[in-house]
């Protein structure tokens, strides 16, 4: 190799200052990237660790069977668990059929312009802050009638709708057209095609979207603050009254000076996170199923 004034940059046997500096820069940014990832994991570990450390000691039988305490007493979160379960369940019943139908309309029936308009509607709906949804439902339904679990569920359903609709629509788009064409070519009506052929193919993705939406909405406090926060300290299934819920309970206890209530808040948060984590695992399972199904077809 002939000697040239500046070494050939491709010749890695020659250490040029430029290359060394660039390698150092690369190492620095590599380190930054690793540290950032570690920081994120560290924060997660910190939050979860605190929850477990401070909350686990409260998780006794009393905690799960007694209702929330009145002033100066000891209690549990049984009524809030029941209330949350009922309200989230009702929200699912309200939101999922409508969301799936909207997605079906967008993907199977609507023209491109209408579809795009609806996508904008859903995105805007998704962007409405939860607190605004809360005061909307309050102003529309609670004023004059009183709070009730149904109104709380309705507020949560408004939050769930765009999430589930978007997830469903995206998975419907991925279902191969050949499936639809084959079904229609056999003389099956369009609606039966959608119901019996397309939806089952998409079910994995739909369930993933549903489970993610439920996990999100189970922890929402703001929509429930104005619609179902004045509830008796007793287990109740009367949906025409306000029912206590986990997030609102945590919110109330979080500012309390009483170490007992603070510990209850940690434990309730642990239960809530546990539920959310289980939902996330479930979502991953369904996503895996969806992938296997679509790859198989």
């Amino acid at each position: 190799m002939s000697e040239v004034a500046s070494p050939d940059p491709r010749d890695l046997t020659v250490r040029s200052n430029g290359l060394r500096r660039r390698r150092v820069v690369e190492k620095i940014f590599g380190a930054v990237a690793i540290l950032s990832a570690l920081l994120a994991c560290g924060i997660l570990a910190l939050v979860l660790g605190t929850l477990v450390f401070k909350g686990a000691s409260q998780l006794n039988l009393d905690f799960f069977t007694k209702a929330r305490p009145l002033f100066g007493e000891k209690g549990g979160i049984a009524d809030a668990l029941v209330g949350s379960a009922i309200i989230v369940g009702m929200a699912m019943l309200m939101a999922i059929p409508v969301a799936v139908l909207v997605a079906i309309y967008m993907s199977e029936y609507a023209g491109p312009k209408v579809s795009r308009a609806l996508r904008i509607v859903l995105d805007v709906l998704n962007g409405v802050p939860a607190i605004v949804v809360g005061i909307f439902v309050f102003g529309l339904l609670v004023v004059g009638h009183g709070q009730s679990a149904v109104f709380g569920a309705f507020a949560l359903a408004i939050l769930m709708l765009p999430m589930v609709a978007r997830a469903t629509q995206e998975i419907l788009e991925v279902v191969p057209q050949s499936l639809r064409h084959a079904s229609l070519a056999l003389g099956v009506t369009k609606w039966r095609t959608t119901w019996n052929v397309v939806l089952p193919a998409a079910i994995g993705g739909i369930l993933t979207g549903v489970v993610i939406a439920v996990a999100r909405v189970a922890g929402e406090t703001a929509p429930l603050l104005f619609t179902t926060s004045i509830a008796a300290n007793a287990i109740s299934v009367n949906i025409h009254q306000a029912l206590p819920t986990l997030p609102v309970t945590i919110f109330s206890f979080s500012e309390s000076p009483d170490p007992g209530e603070q510990a209850d808040a940690w434990a309730a948060a642990l239960v809530l996170i546990g539920f959310v984590l289980v939902m996330n695992v479930l979502a991953k399972y369904f996503a895996g199923r969806k992938r296997r199904q679509l790859e198989g077809s």
């Binding site: 004023v143 009638h145 009183g146 004045i230 008796a232 500012e255 000076p257």
Partner: protein, 355 residues
């Protein structure tokens, strides 16, 4: 394409029909649910966190005594007023009586006193050798931001024997609409002209300095976890959470505590016959109330629509609360209602009619 067009039109027509049917169902369901509300013997209320300790004791007791199930959450007096005005609850509890505008908005609500206690001023100063003494003007200056440090001259003057630290005062106030704020700002307006002109009295005011927290629980919580913090809260919260509270200088020159004796002394100068809520203002009592009179005492009220479907249960509940219910008060530093006030209460209860 014509066939598709007419299909589309019919589909749209059907869609509109479905929407109409669903909407009707929802509205019918709403009126249905209003009627299918909890049956007789069940009333829902919200409001003052100040009175929450006492109402907490009443709830199981009145269930035993009268079979009435009361649901109550502490959300702040302002919320109590707003929710009962909006008729989304059966009663509201507030330490602040209704203003003329609020009374007009509430459309026929009666305001009935059912509790009486003192507003303690707890603080967090570990290592101080004794209980803090404060006066009205000093407290006002602290809340105005004129006094910012615990070892300020004005505080030292009232507490010559205390080893006050060089520490910043963290003022804490109620961020939510609060009857406790109403009572304290009423007191501060009486003792400090600067407070009266700059801030004034209300359930929510523009506090010049400090940190806000929600509910009596919230302010007590901040004080408990912040060294140098100070706030105003119902005495029961200070006691239950082991917070040291200050003694406040009254017009007679004594330094009074917010206990049963202090508050009883404060109401000792009430007229024999009460005809109007405005006579129940007891902050900054006169010199004749004595050296024990606690200057920041307040009545707390229940606000009820005069005509409602729950009138019968409400009358029974309130009557029970102001008679038998009062015995639950003293352990929580609530003073039983004086006789002159009880007469007023009985007359007001009679105005609650059914629909």
């Amino acid at each position: 394409m014509g066939e598709r067009g007419s299909t589309m039109k019919r589909a749209l027509a059907l869609a509109f029909a479905v929407v109409v049917v669903v909407a009707v169902a929802i509205f019918a369901g709403r009126t249905q649910s209003a009627a299918a509300k909890p049956g007789a013997g069940s009333i829902v209320g919200t409001g003052s966190t100040f009175v929450f300790p006492l109402v907490s004791k009443w709830i199981p007791a009145v269930d035993n005594a009268l079979g009435i199930k009361v649901t109550y959450t502490g959300t702040g007096s302002g919320t109590g007023i707003a929710q009962v005005t909006a008729r989304s609850v059966d009663f509201g509890a507030s330490d602040a009586p209704l203003s003329t505008d609020q009374a007009a908005a509430c459309k026929g609500c009666v305001v009935i006193p059912w509790g009486l206690a003192g507003m303690s001023i707890p603080y967090n100063l570990p290592g101080v050798n004794g209980r803090l003494r404060l006066s009205g003007p000093v407290l006002a200056n602290i809340y105005l931001g004129n006094i910012t440090n615990w070892n300020a001259a004005a505080i030292k003057k009232l507490n010559p024997k205390l080893n006050l630290p060089d520490k910043k005062i963290t003022v804490v106030y109620r961020a939510d609409s609060s009857g406790s704020t109403y009572a304290v700002t009423g007191y501060l307006s009486e003792v400090s002209p600067q407070w009266k002109s700059k801030v004034g009295q209300g359930t929510t005011v523009n506090f010049p300095v400090g940190t806000g927290a929600r509910g009596s629980s919230g302010v007590a919580g901040v004080v408990k976890s912040t060294e140098g913090a100070l706030t105003y809260v119902d005495a029961a919260y200070s006691i239950t959470n082991h917070l040291q509270f200050a003694t406040i200088q009254n017009r007679a020159g004594g330094f009074a505590t917010p206990g049963v004796r202090g508050v009883s002394a404060a109401v000792s100068t009430l007229p024999k016959k009460i005809t109007n809520i405005s006579q129940l203002k007891i902050v900054d009592p006169p010199k004749s109330a004595g050296k024990r009179a606690y200057p920041i005492s307040t009545f707390t009220y229940v606000i009820v629509p005069t005509s409602s479907s729950k009138a019968g249960d409400m009358r029974k509940f309130i009557y029970w609360a102001v008679t038998q219910g009062q015995k639950y008060g003293p352990p929580l530093f609530f003073v039983p209602l004086p006789g002159s006030v009880k007469g007023f209460v009985y007359r007001e209860i009679k105005t609650i009619q059914g629909t």
